[in-house]
Amino acid sequence: GCGGSQVLDASSTKAASSSEASAAGSSDASAAASTEISGNLTLNGSTSMAEVCQALGEAFMKKYPNVKVDKSGNGSGDAPKAVEAGTALIGDLSRKLKDEEKPDDFDVKTIAIDGIAIAVNKDNKVKNLTTDQITKIFTGAVKNWKEVGGDDAAINVIGRESASGTRDGFESIFKCKEKCKYASELTSTGAVKTKVSSDKAAVGYISLGNVDNTVTAVKVDGVDATEDNINNGTYKAHRPFIEICKKGSEDDLINAWFTFVYSEEGKKIIQDCKLIATDEKGNGISAGSASSKA
């Protein structure tokens, strides 16, 4: 038909001419000074990553005054769609990409690791549970604390809403996907924590970073829930926080963002958000990769 006869080309002064001119490469972009990087850095996806993203964004904007970081989205599920459609530069997920989300289309970067603590009330005598016990408690096979060495009280199992990344992480690690029998499903880590701290018979899972003196994080198979144990691979319950962008893209803004995230400054912010920072290659996490200790 009309073949390639008419194609628009870039020209800052006048409308299209038919000559072909390729746009200048972006190779020199990385050398740009901080003031030269400008634009909107749009992040879309998980809500539980909102806090860390907002925090990183705040610092990033301070460093690059011409950039505006905008974090939106209603959950991890939004991330691949938004990046695919080009409405967001970066997608946030608090879980791994699913197969139907075409993981091959994206560059996947793990920016942090979130430990999952099994939290019980401070007055609960139980301080240690085995993997098997946890599975049984959450699937309803064990119904009373005395069966696992506690007082005589019916166990109140608290979970997160079905599509939560935390829940997804927890259920896949303890192999109880779709089998858990919850007494309540709450929509945030904070809510679970509040619930557990006020209910003697409750048990729930929360972000490790959110553990404080109001609840007890039980040992799993005798291992304390700590950053170190996660890093050395002995504590198994954790999940990645990942960010995705279009495969092979070399956008100045995106490069600057990830450079910042993996910088010392970025790591500090991530740790302030009570997460475990990762290194640049952190594709998934191999527990031994030591460089994340900053």
Partner: protein, 453 residues
Amino acid sequence: MENRLTDAQRDRRKAQKTRIVRILAIVLGVVSAASFFFPYITFVFKKQVYSVSALQLLTVRGMRVAGPKLTGIVSIPVLTRIAVLAGVVLALAGVVLMLLKKAAPAGACYILSALTPLIVLISTSDIQSAVTQLNVTQMSVRYLAPFLLVLLLGVVCAVLALWTMGPERLAQSVFLVCACVSIGSVVIITIYVIVSGAPAIAEIGLGNFLFGETWAAGSNQFGILPMILSSIAATAGAILLGVPVGILTAVFLSETARPAVTKIVHPAVELLAGIPSVIYGFFGMLVIVPFIKQCGEFFHWNTQGDSLLAAILILAVMVLPTIVNVSETALRAVPVSYREASMALGATPVMTIFKVTIPAARSGVLSGVILGVGRAIGETMAVIMVAGNVANMPKLLGSVRFLTTGIALELSYSSGLHRQALFAIGLVLFVFIMLVDVLFTYISRKGVQMDAE
């Protein structure tokens, strides 16, 4: 004679004015059509600027864009082309129709032409996704003066065109267009709810969907019976608690209270109606839920506070103002003559209230109750904070999930059939509300009939 009722000279003066307006409408219409041929939009990729006229959007194949690894041609979306074509044609049609003195269709053409930039605005963003295919991540679009001119001139021309038929017709058209927008939104939302909800129901099967007892998104089980029953139970409970208190409060306000007392209680009820539902949820979460839990510990109930009961209590408070307000209006609308007649027969004020006033206001009171049902079924945020949200069959002290909260909890994470199933819940909810509304209309109409007899 200046005062003649039929005056040829006056008609002539009017015709002259009309002619000027018509010429203006034609000239501006031509300008508007011409705007399509000037730089219309600017795309900026990586400091590369493409200024494109509408004509080029229509005719060229695409834009050559060089990415870091790939170079390719980004084609112009079909919708953009259609919009531009329609815009030019409609603007010219408007001009021609004006020349033929057909003002009404000309106005319509102009207005439609003015809408085309909006379609361009929506569809050009598709270019962005095409661009991401080439890994050029960021693109910005700027809309230039001609683009805005088309938008503006179209409207102005339409106004001028209709003006030639007189200010009355012009105003009527403006009002009509607005009415169409409002009605359009109702129609669209109805269609949308049905269209987006139906596929999931078709796939899951109506029976499985409505009467399935398990909701497990991971294993593709989408049965919403627990949610339906919970919604019904919570609504019934809230109505059971809210109605007697509500109606009697209405009676208090309209019949027995001294004006000074009414002046305090009435604003209090209005305030209750205005409190955002999140605050009710917040209050329930911090006061009612712990209270139920403590009662549970005390009486050895098996409950942890988040429960159907908590939702019922919150909803009862939330429907209270609706019932009070509507019932009060209905009671006040009962003619004084009924009350007088009853009193003149020797009935006491209280007897009059219960035997004459309330029965006379019953259709209004019932409307209030039904509106309350509507509010209770549709409430989301307050109950999400107190009900525990597990898709169990309803138990008074157990955790439950409602139709509304089912949607709100999972929409953000869902995809595929799961998301469609959530839309299907929306459809079910919509049907419920329709039923309530039809009932409401039926009852209020019947009330009117009863009063008219």
